[in-house]
């Protein structure tokens, strides 16, 4: 087995995403939602709520979480785990900032 090397690709700059907002990155069949918090951290999650596949990128971002627009599940941006009484998990992807440039690890995407 080969260890999968990271493959960092530029997907945009910080200013492309509103504070407490998200933008989508389309990668083949998958859509990745890239979030920006109030304090300019970025997170990447598959754009699918574990509940009924609602587009998390369209939700309200607050305190390290996003609330799904369909049925108000609250998903942690850092772990992808549903919060509170709900159970489920959305896949997370490595993402980092280089200056203002947002880099997403595309290695796990294919």
């Amino acid at each position: 087995m080969n260890a999968v090397a990271s493959l960092w690709v530029e997907v945009g700059t910080l200013s492309d995403i509103p504070k407490q907002g998200a933008r989508c990155v389309v990668a083949g069949e998958k859509t990745i939602a890239v979030f920006r918090t109030m304090d300019d951290q970025v997170f990447a999650l598959e754009d699918k709520c574990p509940h009924k596949n609602g587009p998390l990128s369209q939700g309200i971002v607050h305190d390290g979480c996003v609330t799904c627009p369909l049925h108000n599940w609250v998903i942690s941006l850092s772990t992808g785990q549903a919060q509170g009484a709900d159970e489920g998990e959305t896949r997370t992807y490595p993402v980092k900032l280089d200056g203002d440039t947002i880099l997403l690890d595309a290695a796990g995407l294919a």
């Binding site: 945009g12 995403i17 509103p18 990155v25 939700g59 595309a106």
Partner: protein, 817 residues
């Protein structure tokens, strides 16, 4: 007719209000009651005027007895009726409104008058006292436009007035004759701490200062000059130097009067059929201005009116200052004397000062500043004259430190004896509360207040009462049943709305900071609510925060379960044309829109549109003149109409025309929850106006305005607001009603729920009966529309928020090996 005795009461303040409650509880049928009130209103909690002035409460919150209460108990209440004459021989009283009533028993409860020092200029416009709601209204009014306020008097009332005016944004100076504030209740140290606290809030305090004249121009106040020659600017001067028992009518009747009306222990005057009660009386050489003694008198009088033998033995009083953020408690006597000792605790950093004055190992006085939770406990020891020698070393640290280990608050309450006083205002002891909780099955704070009166007056013992509830009910008691807005705050929606206005909070972070939000950035529940409140309250100043809106309002379309969107253009009043229909048909074909549906709101919905296509769809619709139907908004949705006089043989008015006019006037406005309207041309009601948020039924004589209907989760017919004659009036009433709802509704609260909460009578009083108020609501709506009536689709086609509609990046992935 009835054989009931006739009881007449002069005055309708807190003391007679409480006396009647006690009376009706023990002997509901004994008397036929008539009340004359010089104020034009029902009984309200005068202790709460300061929170009304500061904007933390509204008048509605402080009403003790509403009109229904008087009706229910068969009480005849004359408002705005001052009694000028008592004829003791004929046993009648005559009021300023000409009404004359005979009595068997008469109660004088005329309260007190604020003292107005007859300084030069005291009769200028803008010089007021601080006594009743009228004064508060004058001050609030002044605070809106004017800058400088001077408060003469640094006692309890003066300081509460100063704090309230400051919170309303005025520059406030307090002028106080003595060298320290509240010198009657506080010692010098606490007085200085208090002065510091007021300076820190931006209030200027001048102690040892004597006012020599009030200055004015054109009959209006313009300033104040002090004896030392200083002149201060003032747009309003509030004189708060004390109160004097109001005894004029008693004097006229020839009753024995000293400073107050003289009464014995049975509350009787020197006329066997005439009693007196409250701040107007003098008992044993004492006049009282605090609520606890008045309630004790009320209880005694209620018993004696029904043949009891109760005696009033005078009161020891404790004082709390009701200024948010300043904790101050004082009780008893604290002048220095040779046979007195004191225990003092100071914590300069924590801003805490406590002083107990002892005599013969008993507490005779207590002053607490900065941390007052032990106040009631010290007061209890003081009143019972408990010997404290056993706990002398730890006494000053309070009740929690009297055991081997500090007690938690619940355990401390558990340790209180059954007869310990919990609510000082109402004289309610612990067992009375716990018994009521157990025997009546009470589970909410409001229940406990309703049944026991505990914490229903000044409210400072609320924490203790809640601890008792936790003690009695365990986890079954949820103190948050008072519905906070969300987990980020303990405040309810009404409080938040009021504070946004009172503190002029104009951004979401400002609200969260000022109101001490518990989370960093709020949550998906409070942010959309705050965003709406700010949009509504500061239409010209607030920048709408789209990240705090639900996705539908952010992209101006309705998200569907598969993540696609539906689009509904406006069709004014449900009217359309071949051109509009052709455009819709073309758009459906061009973008391969999978479903087209006629909605319940008389327009057309295109469903299943991909997010990336939204801008192009809107651009095409826009070319034909369509604007967003806001079918996604907590805002004005549709105005359904029937064809009215244009076509219908039964139509009485141009219902279509009025519907279109309303929709064109009101589109774009945000409301607490969605707002759906309809106009029917006759009572056959083909537009189904009687289950709408706001509906109009046209009749021959004009327009019948309906509101507060529901046809969703709940089904409810509308209530009638009233009838108007012309279309213009109909528009003004509907718009004013919508604005009142916009200003008062809780976020996501439909108009029928709001109406239930506020009361239909209150809404009719403001919208139908009060032309001035209606006009103001109307104008505020019109002003707000200047900023709201921008077609969001057109804006986005022109480039706004482009990021919402396109992916940030599309990655070309190579097949992984």
């Amino acid at each position: 007719m009835s054989t009931k005795q006739k009881l007449v009461i002069i005055g309708n303040g807190m003391a007679p209000g409480r006396m009647l409650e006690d009376l009706f509880e023990t002997a509901p049928e004994a008397f036929e009651v008539t009340i004359f009130n010089a104020e034009p209103r029902v009984n309200y909690n005068r202790l709460m005027l300061s929170p009304v002035l500061s904007g933390e409460k509204s008048y509605a919150d402080i009403i003790t007895h509403d009109d229904d209460w008087y009706a229910e108990h068969g009480v005849m209440l004359y408002k705005s009726a001052r009694v000028d004459e008592i004829d003791r021989d004929a046993k009648t009283v005559t009021a300023s409104n000409g009404v004359s009533v005979a009595y068997d028993k008469l109660v004088i409860a005329t309260g007190s008058n604020p003292i107005m020092i007859p300084l030069p200029g005291h009769d200028l416009e803008g010089v007021i006292t601080y006594r009743d709601l009228d004064d508060v209204e004058i001050m609030l009014d002044a605070a809106k436009a004017k800058k400088h306020a001077v408060v003469i008097g640094g006692g309890l009332l003066g300081l509460e007035a100063a704090a309230g005016l400051r919170m309303q944004g005025m520059e406030v100076t307090v002028i106080h004759l003595a060298n320290t504030l509240m010198e009657r209740q506080l010692d010098e140290s606490a007085g200085h701490l208090l002065e510091e606290a007021f300076r820190a809030r931006g209030v200027t305090v001048k102690t040892g200062a004597n006012t020599s004249a009030i200055l004015g121009t054109d009959g209006k106040v313009s300033g104040v000059s002090l004896e030392d020659g200083t002149e201060l600017e003032a747009d309003i001067v509030c004189m708060a130097v004390g109160i004097r028992p109001s005894v004029a009518v008693a004097k006229q009747a020839g009753l024995a009067v000293n400073r107050g009306i003289l009464v014995g222990d049975d509350m009787r005057t020197d006329d066997a059929d005439i009693f007196a009660l409250g701040e107007c009386v003098e008992h044993n050489g004492q006049c009282y201005g605090l609520v606890a003694p008045l309630y004790e008198m009320a209880s005694v009088l209620a018993q004696n009116l029904t043949g009891g033998q109760a005696a009033y033995g005078g009161s020891i009083t404790a004082t709390k200052l009701k200024v948010t953020g300043v904790d101050l408690y004082s009780a008893g006597n604290f002048a220095k004397d040779d046979d007195r000792e004191e225990i003092v605790l100071r914590d300069a950093v924590g801003g805490i000062y406590k002083r107990l004055v002892l005599q013969d190992n008993k507490i005779i006085g207590a002053v607490l500043y900065g941390e007052t939770s032990d106040g009631p406990w010290f007061f209890d020891l003081l009143k019972k004259q408990t010997d404290i020698s056993e706990m002398r070393d730890t006494l000053i640290f309070g009740q929690a430190f009297q055991g081997a280990e500090p007690l938690d608050p619940i355990a401390a309450v558990a340790a209180l004896p059954d007869d310990a006083e919990i609510c000082g205002c109402n004289g309610i002891c612990k067992s009375k509360i716990t018994d009521a909780i157990a025997s009546k099955g009470l589970t909410t704070l409001d229940d406990v207040r309703a049944h026991t009166k505990a914490s229903s007056s000044c409210g400072t013992c609320t924490g203790l009462v809640e601890q008792l509830m936790v003690l009695s009910l365990g986890d079954a008691y949820n103190p948050n049943a008072v519905t906070p807005m969300c987990g980020c705050t303990d405040l309810g929606h009404s409080d938040v709305r009021r504070l946004i206005k009172a503190k002029e909070l104009k951004t979401i972070p400002a609200v969260q900071q000022a109101l001490e939000w518990k989370t960093g950035t709020g949550c998906a529940k409070c942010r959309p609510a705050l965003n709406y409140y700010l949009v509504c309250d500061w239409p010209d100043e607030y920048a709408d925060d789209y990240q705090s809106r639900f996705i539908n309002e952010r992209v101006h379309a309705n998200i569907q379960k598969d993540g696609t969107y539906s689009v509904v253009p406006r069709m004014w009043g449900g009217m359309t044309s071949s051109n509009e229909l052709r455009t819709i048909a073309d758009v459906v074909d061009k973008y391969d829109i999978p479903a087209v549906k006629v909605t319940g709101g008389q327009r057309i919905d295109m469903l299943g549109i991909k997010k990336e296509d939204l801008l192009d769809v809107w651009a095409d619709l826009g070319k034909a003149g369509f604007v967003s139907g806001q079918a996604y908004a907590k805002g004005l949705r549709t105005v359904k109409t029937c064809v009215g006089t244009n076509w219908c043989r039964f139509g009485t008015q141009d219902s279509t025309g009025l519907g279109i006019r309303l929709e064109k006037f009101m589109w774009g406005s945000w409301t607490p929850a969605k707002l759906k309207m309809a106009v029917s041309g006759c009572p056959r009601n083909c537009a189904e106006a009687t289950c709408k948020d706001i509906g109009i039924i046209c009749v021959d004589s004009g327009f019948e305005i309906h509101f507060a209907g529901a046809a969703g989760l709940d089904i409810k017919g509308t209530e009638i607001l009233g009838n108007v004659a012309t279309e213009d009036e109909a528009l003004e009433h509907v718009v004013a009603l919508a604005q009142m709802y916009r200003e008062q509704g809780h976020y996501l609260e439909r108009i029928y729920k709001w109406a239930k909460r506020i009361g239909l009578d209150e809404i009719r009083a403001q919208i139908l009966d009060d032309a001035e108020k209606r006009k103001q609501y109307f104008e505020r709506f019109v002003f707000s529309q200047k900023f709201a009536q921008i077609d969001p689709w057109d804006e986005r086609v022109s480039g706004k928020d482009k990021h919402e509609f396109k992916p940030m990046a599309t990655l070309a992935l190579e097949a992984a090996e």
